[in-house]
C-alpha cells in the first residue's frame, strides 16, 4: 500500500484530474441528493419548472406517509429478517466448505471443487423457472423462506473462504491435532477466529446482494405483507406513480441501512463488493 509518488504528473494535470474527479463525484451523488430533496417537498412543489432544490417548508411528514397505504415497516422488517438469516448461515456454510476444501484430505476433492467452482458461472435466471416450481412443490411460495432457502450456501462463498484458509500456516492445527482435536474442533477453535476479516468482507458482499435482490422476491412473493423492500417499493411505484415525494422518501429509507453501514466500514465494503471481481 506504500505508494511512492513516482509518476510525477505536472501541477496543471493534477488540478485537471481533481476537476474531472469532482465533476464525476458530483454526477454520482446528485441523484441521491435529488432523491432526498424531492422527499421533503409537497406534490405541487415537485411539479414546478424550473426545479428547486428545496420547497418552502421541509415536509418531513412525507416520511410518515410512506406507511399510510403500504406496510412499509413490514417490508423493512422482512428485508432485515431475510438478510440477517442469509448472511449468518451463508458465512457458516461458506467457512465450513472452505475449510474442508482447504485442509481435509479425501478422495475426489479436486474434482469436486472444480465442479463446485464451475457452478458459479450459472446465472440466476437459468435456474429461476425450475426453482419456482420446486418452491411451489415445497409449499414455500409466498413465504420469506423461499428467499432464504436458495441462498443458504453458495459456491462463491466457499471458494472465497478456501482461498483465505489456504493462506493460514499449518503449524497451529498440527499442534491442535496432537492434542486430540477433531477436524471440526480445529475449524471452530482455530480457523473461525482467525478468519474474522475475511468473514466481514464476505458478509458485506452477501448482505448487499440479498438486501438489494429484486428478481427472486418478484417471482416468489405475492402477498403484500411478505414483500421485501425492493419489491415493496416497486409496488408502491405503481400506486404512487405521481407522488414522487412519498416514493422518494421510501426509496431513501430503503437505502439508509446500506449507506450507513458503508460509511461506517468503507474499507470492508470496498473489499467485499469487489470480491466478485476476483473470481478465479
Amino acid at each position: 500500500m506504500k505508494k511512492m509518488k513516482k509518476k510525477y504528473p505536472s501541477k496543471i494535470l493534477i488540478i485537471l484530474l481533481y476537476i474531472v474527479l469532482s465533476i464525476g463525484a458530483l454526477i454520482m451523488i446528485a441523484p441521491f441528493l435529488w432523491m432526498f430533496s424531492t422527499s421533503l417537498k409537497s406534490i405541487s412543489e415537485v411539479f414546478t419548472w424550473p426545479p428547486a432544490i428545496f420547497g418552502k417548508v421541509l415536509r418531513w411528514d412525507n416520511y410518515l406517509k410512506i406507511s399510510e397505504r403500504y406496510p412499509f415497516g413490514r417490508f423493512f422488517i422482512n428485508s432485515a429478517i431475510v438478510s440477517f438469516i442469509v448472511v449468518v448461515t451463508q458465512l457458516f456454510t461458506s467457512s465450513l466448505g472452505g475449510y474442508v476444501f482447504a485442509r481435509l484430505k479425501f478422495r475426489f476433492r479436486e474434482i469436486l471443487f472444480v465442479v463446485y467452482l464451475a457452478t458459479m458461472m450459472v446465472p440466476v435466471h437459468v435456474t429461476l423457472v425450475p426453482l419456482f416450481i420446486i418452491m411451489r412443490y415445497l409449499g414455500q411460495i409466498d413465504k420469506l423462506s423461499s428467499l432464504i432457502l436458495p441462498n443458504l450456501a453458495t459456491a462463491f462463498g466457499t471458494f472465497l473462504m478456501r482461498q483465505f484458509f489456504l493462506t493460514i500456516p499449518t503449524g497451529l492445527e498440527d499442534a491442535a491435532k496432537i492434542d486430540g482435536c477433531t477436524p471440526f474442533g480445529i475449524y471452530w477453535k482455530i480457523f473461525l477466529p482467525l478468519s474474522k476479516p475475511a468473514l466481514a468482507a464476505l458478509g458485506v458482499f452477501i448482505f448487499v446482494g440479498i438486501w438489494n435482490d429484486f428478481l427472486r422476491p418478484l417471482v416468489f412473493i405475492n402477498k403484500i405483507n411478505n414483500m421485501t423492500l425492493p419489491l415493496g417499493l416497486a409496488n408502491m411505484q405503481g400506486m404512487y406513480s405521481t407522488n414522487w415525494p412519498v416514493l422518494m422518501a421510501g426509496t431513501f429509507i430503503s437505502l439508509l441501512p446500506i449507506i450507513i453501514a458503508f460509511l461506517l466500514a468503507q474499507d470492508f465494503f470496498v473489499k467485499g463488493v469487489t470480491l466478485s471481481g476476483i473470481k478465479e
Binding site: G24, Y99, F106, V129, P183, L215, P230, Q237, L263
Partner: protein, 294 residues
C-alpha cells in the same frame, strides 16, 4: 478405539461438514439447472400435463419476432453499456490513482451507486428522466436543448436505460482498475523515467499494457452483468415502448410468469446461458494466450 479413529478420519468429516453445502447445492442449483434443460424441450403451463415437444421451442424462438427484438435489445444494451462504462471507469481509476488527497471521499462517492439497489436507482432515475419536471431535461434546457420524452420514446428509452446502468456500474469497474493499477510494479515507471518518458507515454506504454489482465476481467464481468440486465428495464420501461428495451431476461420473465410458458422460458434461459458461456470462454481463451506476466 475403532470408533475413535473413525471420528478423526478426514473423509468422514469432509462428508459431514460439506453436507449443508451439498444439500443446498443439489436442490437449489444442480437439479434446477438440469431441470431447466429438460423443460426447454417441453410445453408446460403448470396446470395442464407437461408435453414433450423436442426442439419446437428452439425453432419457435428463431421465428419469434419478439424474441429477436429482445435479443437485439440485449445486444444494444451490452454494446451501449460495456465499452463506454469501461473506458470512463478506466480514466477515473487512473485519475484517482494520481490523486494524493481525498481518495477515500472520491471512492465513497463513486461507490454509492454500486451498493444501492437497482430498484432504488431505477426509481430515482425515472424521476430524473421525467420529461416535464425531470432534472435531466432541466440541465439540457440550460444548454438550449429540448430534451426528449426519455422513457416513452422509441429512440431514447434504451439510451436512458444505458446511461443509468453505466452510472451505477462505474464505481465497481473503477475499483477493479484501481486495484490493477496499484499492482503494477513501480520499477516499470522508474525505468520509463530514466528513459525520459512523459506522463502520457508512460500511460500509453506502461499502464495500458500492464493493465491488460485487469481489463479482460472487467470486460468479462461487465458482459456477464449486462447480459443479465432486468431490474431497471422492469421498473423504468416495462420493456417498452414497442419492445425497444425488452432485454432477454425481461422476455424470459414475461414468458414464465405472465404467459406461463415454462418450457419456452427455459429455452430462452438456455439460449442466454449458452451465449454468455460462449462469449466468456472465447474471451478467457484469448486471454490465456495473451496474458501479461510480470
Amino acid at each position: 478405539m475403532k470408533f475413535k479413529n473413525f471420528l478423526y478420519r478426514d473423509s468422514v468429516w469432509a462428508f459431514i461438514l460439506l453436507l449443508p453445502n451439498f444439500i443446498c447445492f443439489l436442490i437449489f442449483l444442480l437439479i434446477p439447472l438440469v431441470a431447466a434443460f429438460f423443460l426447454s424441450f417441453t410445453k408446460w403451463d403448470l396446470m395442464t400435463p407437461i408435453q414433450w415437444v423436442e426442439f419446437a421451442n428452439y425453432i419457435e424462438l428463431f421465428k419469434d419476432e419478439t424474441f429477436l427484438k429482445s435479443l437485439w435489445a440485449t445486444i444494444y444494451f451490452t454494446v451501449g453499456t460495456v465499452p463506454l462504462g469501461i473506458i470512463i471507469s478506466l480514466f477515473l481509476a487512473v485519475a484517482l490513482d494520481q490523486a494524493i488527497k481525498g481518495l477515500k471521499i472520491y471512492r465513497a462517492a463513486f461507490f454509492l451507486p454500486v451498493i444501492s439497489s437497482m430498484v432504488a436507482v431505477s426509481l430515482v432515475w425515472m424521476w430524473i428522466y421525467n420529461p416535464e419536471y425531470g432534472l435531466f431535461n432541466y440541465f439540457l434546457s440550460m444548454i438550449g436543448i429540448e430534451g426528449p420524452r426519455w422513457l416513452s420514446s422509441v429512440t431514447w428509452a434504451m439510451p436512458a436505460v444505458i446511461i443509468t446502468s453505466i452510472w451505477k456500474g462505474l464505481g465497481f469497474n473503477m475499483l477493479l482498475f484501481l486495484a490493477g493499477l496499484q499492482g503494477i510494479p513501480k520499477s516499470y515507471y522508474e525505468a520509463a523515467d530514466i528513459d525520459g518518458a512523459r506522463w502520457f507515454s508512460k500511460f500509453y506504454y506502461v499502464t495500458i499494457p500492464l493493465l491488460f489482465n485487469t481489463t479482460i476481467f472487467v470486460i468479462v464481468i461487465s458482459l456477464i452483468n449486462s447480459f443479465q440486465g432486468f431490474d431497471s428495464v422492469y421498473l423504468m420501461t416495462s420493456g417498452g415502448p414497442a419492445r425497444t428495451t425488452s432485454v432477454l431476461v425481461y422476455y424470459l420473465y414475461q414468458n414464465a410468469f405472465r404467459y406461463f410458458r415454462m418450457g419456452y422460458a427455459s429455452a430462452i434461459a438456455y439460449v442466454l446461458f449458452s451465449l454468455m458461456l460462449f462469449l466468456t470462454l472465447i474471451l478467457l481463451y484469448w486471454f490465456q494466450k495473451k496474458k501479461v506476466i510480470f
